[in-house]
């Protein structure tokens, strides 16, 4: 059984949220850019 440090219980991954926030913003920006290209190039039916 893993020993539980007190600080382990108090650990809040705020830095992780910061990293993932940057990731998500980039993700949305890039994905949306390509989506706009798709829409501008028009229909196929």
């Amino acid at each position: 059984m893993a020993k539980k440090d007190k600080e382990d219980d108090e650990f809040r991954p705020t830095g992780t949220i910061a990293v993932l926030a940057i990731f998500v913003v980039t993700l949305i920006a890039i994905w949306a850019t390509i989506y706009v290209i798709l829409v501008q190039r028009g229909g196929t039916l």
């Binding site: 991954p13 992780t16 829409v39 028009g42 039916l45």
Partner: protein, 166 residues
Amino acid sequence: MSTQKMHIDVYERNWLIFSAILLVLFATAVSVAAFGMGIQVPAPEQRVDPRTVATDPSSPWSNPGLREIAPGKYDAYILAHAIPNWEYLPKELTVPAGSVVTFYVTSSDVQHGFKIQNTNANFMVIPGQVSKLTIHFDKPGTYNYICTEYCGSGHGVMYGAITVTP
């Protein structure tokens, strides 16, 4: 087994909920483009025999090219082949601006690709199958169509062009 409840950190749970919402939004945007704006991927059209598709007189690809089916509406039958010299037949098409062209593309030998630059026409050309998509050409100019699947040593030079006249 009451101790075995799943433990998920609250930050992590919120992250996962957020991820799920994001994916739903993307799926919605894609669906709107597909079912609302008619930006669709190819559907099964018809099957052909690649051994005779270019030679059988009853096959449209024995005489590839444009057919005007209504004013401003065209069917383009295009044959892709690696033998003898990696090309599309026809190599060039000309339509006036505002034309709606439906492409029917097949191969008489290996797999090819067909991508018309600056449009959403981009699909596989597979022997035995017919790939079909429709493109609206509103802006005058030259649109190259290029082979996007490896088809032998001439793959890199395989292309054609559509000229859209004003």
